[in-house]
Symmetry: C2
Amino acid sequence: MRLAELSERSGVSTATIKYYLREGLLPPGHRVSATTAEYGEDHLRRLRLVRALIQVGQVPVTTAREVLRHVDDDSLGRTIRLGAALWALPHGPEPDEGDEAVAAARREVDRLLAMLGWSTARELGALSPVHRSLVVAVATLIRLGYAWDAELMAPYAELMHQVAVRDLDFVETHPSEAEKVETAVAATVLFQPVLKALHQLAQEEESARRYGL
Amino acid sequence: MRLAELSERSGVSTATIKYYLREGLLPPGHRVSATTAEYGEDHLRRLRLVRALIQVGQVPVTTAREVLRHVDDDSLGRTIRLGAALWALPHGPEPDEGDEAVAAARREVDRLLAMLGWSTARELGALSPVHRSLVVAVATLIRLGYAWDAELMAPYAELMHQVAVRDLDFVETHPSEAEKVETAVAATVLFQPVLKALHQLAQEEESARRYGL
């Protein structure tokens, strides 16, 4: 398809598409003459992912380019490739290592991972920005005086593991390796608000069931 | 306890506590002389909630005051009181009613709630800002071209319902009605980052189990 059709089918203006091309977020089309290029379904899919990252995830352009570099690196195994892409996303503040609450949080997270038998999470440990985000979130609870430990977290972690199983099942419904990795990255950015809203809606529902309106 | 002790036990500076008192976020202490007041455990607890809202949830002071007004309104039933407090929290952009994707998202959310038999969520419908956030989140997915329907959401919703059951079980471990409502509001703000990190950690773990590192 030509640029105009790519714009129409994606809902992204031609000016924005040209900007993404210049910034290297979208691979160039197949040149058919000095002034026109052909784009394919893979461009449409990539455009979707770029919008998910930039417009929904509010990821800076340089970060998005970094994420996409990992998405496209098919020399890596899927977990590493995906991991590298997800790790490149913004993950909030780093834990303050001098802080007592951070030390306490790290102990509880370590105990939790041992209880669950999550061996990859244990092996990667603080190398993973996700692991560090969890430590920061738990430290905040501890600092505010909420008793929050591995035993309290374990059932939540088991449920989130069931959510992750569904996520990967969904990713696997996509035929090509490129689509699988792209869908997984888009899902991380786009499903989060859906899950959050479902969670709060479920809280309202369960509260009404227990206590009435 | 005196102001100095309240400050030490809460980790909040006396200047900040005085600011919260002036802004009506913290009820005044029991005056024992012209210059000193006594504070109790309920002040400590309230201070924790105020910090959770303002420092972690980044809720504006006027919004926090609105949330707390509902928390303190014991003329209301628990679901309504909690609901009113949670509804006063920021909930992102409103759905754009002229948008095709919003109409499609609303149809899928309605179908989902019917499938699940969530009668309160159906009854409250778009009155609830949480319901509206879900419509906005689903509309974003649809607009970006992801096929996302009630059937895909249902298992996620069932899992988030199990999470909500645990949330309310945790809330019920607190003895007084005031603590229950305060904990529920704090949980909404503070557990979200923990759940999100657990979810991503579970994705890493499950991916490594399926595909290796």
